[in-house]
Amino acid sequence: MHRLATGKASLDSSVIVDFHLVGRIALLEELFSGRLVMSDFVGQELIDANLQLTGVETIALSNDEEWKFFQTLRQDRPGLGPGELGAIGVARFHNAILVTNDRQARLAAEEFDISVHGGLGVLEYAVEVGRLSGVEAVEVLEAMISQGAWISEELVEQFRKRVLDSR
């Protein structure tokens, strides 16, 4: 079973924007139906960009421990914005998988043993549950790359092999 098949998923803007730019935001809503959680900092970023993701539970940081974690991470990784920090915080304190396409966010999450997946993982999961065919998943990925998603050629090639061979 794919690791994204169970549990909550805390998304940050990077992955939502990548799916939005190829017109596939509904895929996220569908795949994680009832399991999507989002920091309200990410929610604000989406509002500012006029983006909407339905069926999401928005979560606020509220207690001292959460704020301390947020501030420590912010100081250690000044390249992260409130959205990514919030998404990592939500993943940590609400036991969710972090879904991000951001390298900085991924590194930070790994430091705290938070399970992380990116857009590639989401597409693989979509193939696994039969929501997309392997060919469709590759097409979506290529569209994302043409819209600015930054994924190494090596990872793309590995992804291509995995999803096309799984047919």
Partner: protein
């Protein structure tokens, strides 16, 4: 942590001149709860913090800064408020973002701030002469000597560590604003609604203030206060005129290209393009330097007024200066480098550039294409 956020909310609320009652109402909490938050006794939740950030016109990151007060951005007292709170807020946000980018990329504090002439003898007793001298020595220091025109004052001053922020202010009679801090260095806001000639002059004018009046940058907001403000304005104008149109350079061009025959409007066009200033500034300098008699200057001023109604420029300069500066803008370079080298996340880039995440993503894609297909 509660202390830091609470203290920053209080500071921002006071600067925005919003009462505790009013902000509490906006946050849908009691005044006593807000007071407890501001004093660090209880934690605010992130949803309320976002509402507070919106109400106070600040990016949410501002509330996490554990910053020494001494490093805050300080203004010079002015006769009247020069720019409304939203413009100041955008300005401060830009200055902080600029510094943050420098720190992220690893190029913070790589240059000294421009010299501080504010304690020099002569500043008080002979202000006009002093301003002209500062302009001359600054030109010398920057390698322009007594003659050369400054082709791109935006680029030049940014190279000196000045953070330049262009922002459309509703009132075009507000030209610019400057601030200084040990951490952020010299910062200048220009009203982008004004003509390019006006922006160039305002930039030099504010730079003059930063050089000659630095010790007066002591106020957390540009509130009224100093009686001597008027003479400081005159000094800054004098500095700008001498800095942009040096007397020796003007004489050179005048005798070489215009000669002794009666000066006409076409000569003003030539000179304004040469020195990149307005026709009015050229005319004023020609009078100051004694190259044009008062009667002829008055006639030309009347001609200019007829041809270019108030607030319009006679034969406007094109905006090449801005375009060229944009290509080498240090802020843009740092943002591009940080984004393309993965030093900042999408959310952070959006925050630093004051854009939304989708626009920030598109910007990154454009930058990437530039590099890939160059």
């Amino acid at each position: 942590m509660n202390n830091v956020i609470g203290h920053n909310i209080k500071k921002a609320r006071e600067l925005a001149r919003i009462s505790q009652e009013r902000l509490a109402e906006m946050l849908d909490i009691s005044r006593a709860t807000l007071s407890a938050i501001e004093n660090g006794h209880i934690a605010i939740d992130s949803g309320k913090l976002l509402t507070a950030a919106r109400a106070l016109g600040r990016p949410v990151s501002d509330f996490f800064r554990e910053e020494d007060e001494a490093l805050a951005l300080l203004y010079r007292a002015a006769l009247e408020e020069a720019a409304p709170p939203p413009a100041r807020s955008a300005f401060e946000r830009f200055c902080k973002a600029y510094r943050e980018l420098e720190e992220i990329v690893g190029v913070a504090d790589t240059q000294l701030p421009p010299p501080d002439y504010s304690a020099s003898p002569g500043a008080e007793s002979r202000p006009d002469q002093f301003a002209a001298q500062v302009a001359a020595s600054e030109r010398q220091r920057l390698g322009f000597g007594e003659h050369d025109p400054i082709i791109n004052v935006f680029q030049l001053l940014e190279e000196q560590g000045v953070r330049i922020f262009r922002y459309p202010l509703e009132h075009d009679n507000v030209f610019g604003l400057s601030a200084f801090s040990l951490k952020y260095g010299p910062c200048i806001l220009l009203n982008s609604v004004n003509t390019i000639e006006r922006q160039i002059f305002s930039l030099a004018h504010e730079y003059g203030h930063l050089l000659m009046h630095r010790r007066f940058y002591q106020s957390a907001e540009p509130a009224s206060g100093l009686e001597k403000e008027h003479s400081m304005e005159i000094m800054a104008n004098k500095f700008a005129a001498n800095f942009l149109v040096p007397a020796a350079g003007l004489r050179d061009v005048f005798w070489r290209d215009i000669g002794q025959k009666d000066i006409g409007l076409q000569d003003l066009v030539f000179l304004k393009r040469y020195f990149k200033v307005s026709a009015q500034v050229v005319l004023r300098r020609l009078r100051d330097v004694g190259l044009v008699q008062k009667q002829r200057a008055d006639d030309l001023a009347a001609e200019l007024e007829k041809r270019a109604p108030e607030k319009q420029e006679f034969v406007p300069l094109n905006e090449d200066v801005l375009r060229d500066w944009s290509l080498v803008s240090r802020f843009k370079h740092l943002a591009r480098k940080a984004a393309l080298e993965g030093m900042v996340s999408l959310g952070k880039l959006a925050e630093l550039m004051n854009r939304n995440v989708v626009d920030a993503k598109r910007q990154v894609q454009e930058w990437r294409k530039e590099v890939t297909f160059a």
